[in-house]
Symmetry: C2
Subunit: 365 residues, 2 copies
């Protein structure tokens, strides 16, 4: 890749994100120096091939601050005081607060561009690191008006070397956006899941894929999420208040639907239906997968048996006609003989897949 | 199956649920008579093999009332007045209200057992019907103290013939349970999705799998869901109010986390963490799939390429060692070269699968 100009980098903090970025940079020929307050973490990352534990002998091209969010401003300003790098970035999941704090500590904002790679795993620490952790993920950069173009470009180069998709946003807009698509939904999922904590066993047994999917993120580590939510607390609080108002309207609509007066019932039904329609409109806007518009995909549903090999046979038949299945959802039951596989395929390949599956005697529905 | 005693049945209402039940009964040798206010629907169902359009010449063993929920009490009582069957059941998704209403219309409650098969599809109508629609699904029955044992057994037989899992509950407990695991979550998903309706395009672009899974059910038909929610309105309203109180606590906790006073911040963090922990506990209770405990499964994550055939190759390798993949989640990005496949496998087969995939040079993480 002849646009690559980064020769060396310093990664400070070798947890999951820092070590993964270091692995990616190293794999692309960048000399990576590793630093971490925990000597064990830096040794593990180095032994995985993320870089060298030796301190850089000269000023590096880019310093990546991958320490816990609350420590970012102090570490960033300290590194700048030592003059270790020409450009600086970080990977904290909240941007506006830390950016202000760094400014208050006399951060050289011309040489710093905030960053947030939107990737993560259930596991943490350098042992969970992977060079392809960021492949295809959005990586937000939050330059300010006084950020040098060279510094922004250095950040963009990091994103490209990690295989991610750069998205430039203002810090405040970023924080509101992640509040909307990640932090507030996380609280909502936890609230719904918390209702199940003391529910009757038979009620919980009736739970299906809807509430299971809705509450999936509630399984995440509470300790980690308190920190994430705390760093974006006021944004999330505002969003939850907006949701709470919508909830009050829904409650009023539902109570009206149970009224004896017919006009009242009709008005309640209109309120509830309007809310459901707005939800449907909002839902349609969510990309089916990163970087793809949902309209480009169609779902094909196939009935399969529960024996080993059925999925293999299905995917073999699909790939025989050159169809790459983009997403798959399996729905079946323990001890039962059949299940459903929902395959998402590019719309223009839909017909050929349906025909092939029919030929191979798969039952579609 | 020598416990089968049902010889004939009348299915009234040949939409998705009625026609699917008729197909299942017919496939198991029961003579099924079909009836629907819409002559086209009944002809379609009959042509699909669901039963005969001829009226029964004698009293049938069971009448299945599969008309829209609001019509159930009237139709049920009318059928009983005509004496068409020895036993009666229905398939409406809400039980207490219709049961009371039927009682007010002088329903013979000894001969009636309420039912709710917990299955459905995105599509409706007889053309979407399948004999295996209910296989492995929970099918709730709501007998009252005066329901005849023979009538309950007739309902249990219907459930068994459809391949579903019977769950006996009181009508009120059922309505509260489906409010908890289905109706209230549906409203919540719609509220979160509605926030995205007018959100900035770049914000929506940052949406990942968390909010996508959370809002999946918000894509459902609003017209249909107004009816469902309306039939269980007060239960859902009560649950949403409970959620709203939790939301107020969360907002207060988050605002406290942004306070200057350290004690206040700590107390806010404790409130938020407590909520997240309760969510985690509730989430753990949801069965990973119907009829299976989540602990019996392990997840194996494999890195795959984006070419056609990769999934086929993976499932072929998995099935080679006799492993049946129980659930699969694909996570990858358009135009990128790698993706992640999360495979759920029975815990006791985990080691053999991991070893086989390693032998076949799959990259696991």
């Amino acid at each position: 890749m002849d646009t690559v100009t980064m020769e060396n980098a310093l990664v400070v903090g070798t947890g999951l994100i820092g070590a993964s970025a270091a692995l990616a940079l190293n794999a692309r020929g960048v000399t990576v120096h590793l630093r971490d307050a925990d000597p064990a973490a830096v040794r593990i990352a180095s032994s995985l091939g993320a870089g060298t534990v030796e301190a850089p002998q000269e000023r590096v091209d880019l310093a990546v601050v991958a320490v816990p969010p609350a420590l970012v401003p102090g570490v960033l300003v300290g590194l700048q005081a030592d003059g270790v790098a020409r450009h600086y970035t970080d990977v904290a999941s909240v941007k506006a607060g830390p950016q202000q704090e760094a400014l208050a500590l006399a951060c050289d904002t011309a040489r710093y561009v905030g960053g947030h790679p939107m990737a993560g795993r259930e596991r943490s620490g350098p042992l969970a690191a992977r060079p392809d952790l960021f492949v295809g993920c959005n990586w937000v950069l939050t330059p300010t008006p006084d950020t040098d173009t060279d510094t922004l470009n250095s950040g963009l180069e990091l994103v490209a070397l990690c295989g991610a998709v750069p998205v430039v946003m203002e810090a405040v807009a970023h924080d509101r956006a992640v509040g909307l698509v990640s932090h507030a939904p996380h609280v909502v999922a936890s609230l719904v899941a918390a209702l199940l904590e003391r529910a009757d066993e038979r009620a919980v047994r009736l739970a299906g894929s809807g509430v299971r999917d809705l509450t999936r993120i509630a399984a995440a580590d509470p300790g980690l999420w308190v920190d994430i939510l705390g760093a974006n607390a006021l944004v999330v609080a505002d969003l939850l208040e907006e949701l709470s108002e919508g909830m009050d309207d829904a409650v009023a609509g539902l109570r009206a639907m149970a009224a004896t007066d017919e006009d009242k019932r009709d008005s309640g039904a209109r309120t509830v239906e309007n809310l459901l329609r707005r939800g449907q409109s909002g839902r349609i806007r969510i990309p089916a997968k990163r970087g793809m518009l949902p309209e480009q995909y169609e779902t094909v549903t196939v009935v399969i048996g529960d024996q080993p090999g059925e999925l293999a046979r299905l995917f073999t038949d699909a790939s025989r006609v050159g169809v790459n299945v983009e997403d798959v959802r399996l729905e079946h039951s323990a001890g039962q003989s059949t299940g459903l596989v929902h395959l998402s395929v590019a719309r223009d390949l839909m017909d050929v897949l349906v025909a092939e599956l029919r030929n191979r005697e798969w039952r579609q529905s």
